[in-house]
């Protein structure tokens, strides 16, 4: 162990000389999104993305070792499903974090001291479920308007198995709403993430299976106030 470490040291020293000049993961830096992880902050430079591959360049600007996770919504509704992570980011160093994401919302969590729930920033990804295709092509689109007491636009909507539909959500309410679509088995197939009043967002979803789909706003108890419904896919 001693011998091999002594061998490794000149290697490290040698690479120090040329390590500094490389822009690190050069190809990734072209589109890498800076994340500044500090002692109490987690600044993500961009918070809206297209579905597909995202590379975050995480810089530890704090004084403690940190780790950064990207979480998707898990079964319980909490953001606890790990999509990507980078650990052991020492103060003053940078590491890349690459993830592949489909449409929906995620949380970027910076955990100084490598413990706890971390400082979280929500990011929104618009587009199709990343099934390898980069284009958000769709067969048709449907406009859905959200008011505080319900959705309009999906009455009488029936889908065809396998078709790709762009759901365009317009928020006509007074508070943030989202449009989450769940398949016949109850699992979420995608959503238009939290959208501010007056704004809109869209997501392309493939209606892969036949059955009854549910849509709802997953924020707080909006669903029980009328922001929910079903449609069939045949």
């Amino acid at each position: 162990m001693r011998t091999s470490l002594l061998l490794a040291l000149p290697l490290v020293a040698g690479l120090t000389a040329c390590g500094g000049s490389s822009s690190g993961s050069a190809a990734a830096s072209g589109g890498a999104v800076p994340v500044k992880a500090g002692d109490r902050t987690c600044d993500v430079a961009t918070t809206t993305f297209d579905a597909g591959k995202i590379t975050f360049k995480v810089q530890n600007t704090g004084s403690d070792v940190t780790e950064v996770y990207v979480y998707a919504k898990g079964g319980s509704g909490d953001y606890d499903k790990i999509v990507g992570e980078v650990e052991n980011i020492a103060p003053g160093t940078s590491r890349d974090l690459g993830v592949k994401v489909g449409g929906g919302t995620y949380e970027v969590a910076c955990k100084p001291g490598q413990k706890g729930n971390g400082v979280r920033t929500t990011i929104t990804v618009t587009g199709a479920e990343a099934a390898g295709s980069d284009d958000a092509k769709y067969d048709r689109e449907v406009e859905v308007t959200a008011k505080d007491d319900g959705f309009t636009g999906l009455e009488g909507f029936t889908g065809k198995v396998g078709e790709k539909v762009e759901f365009k959500l317009e928020n006509d309410g007074t508070t943030e709403h989202e449009l989450e679509v769940l398949g016949p088995d109850g699992t979420s197939i995608g959503e238009v993430g939290p959208t501010a009043p007056g704004k809109d967002g869209e997501v392309v979803l493939e209606l892969a299976k036949a059955g009854t789909y549910t849509y709802k706003c997953g924020i707080d108890d909006h669903a029980s106030h009328g922001l929910q419904g079903t449609f069939t896919v045949a």
């Binding site: 162990m1 001693r2 011998t3 091999s4 470490l5 061998l7 490794a8 040291l9 290697l11 490290v12 690479l15 120090t16 390590g19 500094g20 490389s22 690190g24 993961s25 050069a26 190809a27 990734a28 004084s63 403690d64 070792v65 898990g74 606890d80 790990i82 999509v83 990507g84 992570e85 650990e87 052991n88 980011i89 020492a90 103060p91 003053g92 160093t93 940078s94 590491r95 690459g98 993830v99 592949k100 001291g113 490598q114 413990k115 706890g116």
Partner: protein, 280 residues
């Protein structure tokens, strides 16, 4: 510099302890010539980890997080298998040492150089990639400051120094004490590795229950404190332990320690002298 020093220390400590104990055992059992394959396995693990880590850090090559965790998980399980096997090999051969056959082992019980090299390789290489990535990130930041890489290297050197101290201390113990303590020590270390492997597999999604915690003492034992570091480095103690990890740890430690300390069946007499049936 302290944070990176602690990481270097933590990453190097476990491998360093396992190697220190292995070396002590080989020296004590008169197998000094077997040290070469051991160093070989270590050197290879270090070289491959550094190379692979450099590839990931400095090029656009990518390893998905799931693949990385799955690799860490399976590598840990393999390491546990090897270390467990090594402990019981030590247990078997220790009987011959106690019989004062001056360390001469039956050829049947001689550990092949490959097995030795593999054990060392796996013990060091298990965490090798993660450590290498951390190290290269520190190297990369030398543009801004040399502090991270200095701390990291010092931490690794400190781990090596501690391993050396363990070797020195262990080698001077009398045989029975040596064997009891180092063997049991390795079992406890292996239990930690087992739990850690389970955790990695949970993170990669292969096993469930990542967030079903047995306990969370992250506030009392922060991972970046020096005591948190030592606990992690030696025992793989995670302040935030899932139920599955805890079960894994217990279900490994209890049976294996039992088997380890259980008196062995008496061997057919080779010499005329009566011998104790307890092998430990």
């Amino acid at each position: 510099m302290f944070p990176t020093f602690l990481i270097g220390l933590r990453e190097g400590l476990e491998a360093s302890l396992v190697v220190g104990i292995l070396v002590a055992y080989l020296v004590k059992s008169g197998n000094g010539h077997r040290l070469r394959p051991l160093w070989g396995g270590i050197a290879l693990a270090v070289a491959i980890s550094l190379a692979f880590g450099a590839l990931l850090q400095f090029t656009s090559a990518e390893l998905s997080f799931q693949a990385q965790e799955a690799f860490g998980g399976f590598a840990s399980l393999v390491a546990v298998a090897f270390v467990t096997w090594m402990v019981f090999w030590m247990r078997r051969t220790a009987r011959y040492l106690k019989d004062e056959l001056h360390g001469r082992l039956d050829t049947a019980l001689t550990l092949g150089p490959l097995a030795l090299a593999l054990t060392a390789f796996v013990a060091v290489g298990r965490e090798g990639l993660e450590t290498a990535l951390f190290l290269w990130a520190a190297v990369q930041s030398t543009e801004q400051s040399a502090t991270p890489v200095t701390g990291a290297v010092l931490g690794l050197l400190a781990a090596v120094a501690l391993g050396y101290l363990v070797y020195k201390r262990a080698v001077n113990l009398n045989l029975k004490t040596f064997f009891t303590w180092t063997g049991a020590g390795l079992v406890v270390v292996a239990a930690g590795v087992f739990a850690y492997g389970i955790h990695d597999l949970q993170e990669s999604g292969i096993l469930p229950g990542l967030n079903t915690l047995a306990f969370d003492v992250s506030e009392q034992v922060p991972p970046s404190s020096w005591y948190g570091t030592l606990l992690k480095g030696v025992l793989n103690f995670s302040p935030r332990t899932s139920v599955l990890e805890a079960i894994a740890w217990v279900s490994y430690v209890v049976p294996v320690l039992y088997l380890f300390f259980r008196p062995a069946a008496p061997r057919p007499a080779v010499a005329a002298q009566p011998r104790e049936t307890a092998s430990v």
